[in-house]
């Protein structure tokens, strides 16, 4: 089963995603694809906190901050994957070093890579972030990123059997349903 989860910051997305991935794995291979590339001490602390939260859940952690297709071979076919987050992966792909200039082809590439990853996995849970409802007129770069993330989100939501929005630790199912 493919599940897509989005919502605002600190609304319970990662917790729901972990519980769903664990349940969907039914004791089989369970992978956590970590997409965040630490840039400072704050990021490192956040990553340590996430690792501690996953302890004892049985996840094998694979670092995959970019080029998601290269990760596909590291997953055994039929395994269960938790990808957290689409947001960080797209940001790494869209603004690559050394100059961090915007790559407008990144959203399509990331969407295709993520869909291929989903085909390889038996079950997959994608986690993204809902960043679309603020009253701000952004520059072309930020607006391009929002548009790009929405493109990836919509492609994933279309391909998934279940789509959830997390709000205050509660879940709104926009499509299908998955039980942890």
């Amino acid at each position: 089963m493919k599940v897509f989860i989005s919502g605002g910051c600190k609304n319970g997305k990662s917790t729901l995603a972990q519980r769903l991935a664990k349940a969907l794995a039914e004791g089989g291979e369970l992978y956590y694809l970590a997409t965040m590339e630490p840039r400072d001490a704050e990021d490192e602390a956040r990553i340590r906190r996430h690792i501690a939260e996953r302890e004892g859940w049985g996840f094998q952690t694979l670092e995959c901050p970019r080029d998601i297709e290269s990760c596909i071979g590291k997953i055994s076919a039929g395994g269960t994957v938790l990808l957290d987050s689409v947001t960080a992966l797209l940001s790494n792909e869209m603004f690559p070093p050394p100059d961090y200039a915007m790559d407008p082809a990144a959203p399509r590439r990331v969407a295709e890579g993520l869909l291929k990853l989903g085909e390889r996995a038996g079950s997959i849970v994608y986690v993204s972030d809902y960043i679309y409802s603020d009253a701000e007129i952004y520059d072309a770069v930020t607006d391009g990123y929002k548009r790009g993330l929405a493109y990836v989100d919509r492609a994933l939501a279309q391909a998934c059997q279940a789509v959830a929005e997390c709000c205050a630790g509660l879940v709104i199912w926009h499509k299908g349903r998955a039980e942890p």
Binding site: F4, S6, G8, S128, Y130, I131, Y132, S133, D134, A135, E136, I137, K146, R147, A150, Y151, D153, R154, L156, A157, Q158, V163, E165, I172, H174, K175
Partner: protein, 124 residues
Amino acid sequence: MHLIIGGAFQGKLDYAVKKYGLSEGDIFECSESGEIEFKKCVNHLERFTLGCVRRGLEPAEVFMSSPELWRDRILICEDISSGVVPVDAVMRAWREANGRLLNWLSPQAESVTRLFCGLPQVLK
């Protein structure tokens, strides 16, 4: 009137085009000029509200004064209500005026649909 709301780039117009069989000529795209033309479908109402705010007008009042113009239309508006309170006073006024307009329109709508990542959620 059918009201379609949701965050930026969530597929509101795509949904309206498919659901109501709209063609390009049926759609009026609002700009920040504050001008509005009630074609079959009015898109980006939030830009109209920004235009109103910049001209010192209350967008909800513009709608109240001429219900016959939009009673059988499809209105699409971005939800701009959920970010940090903007530092800029005009942006703050815009966010509130847009919310007031949606609050005023939704009770009069035949249907209200929110788009989330391309998926419609019927609120009314």
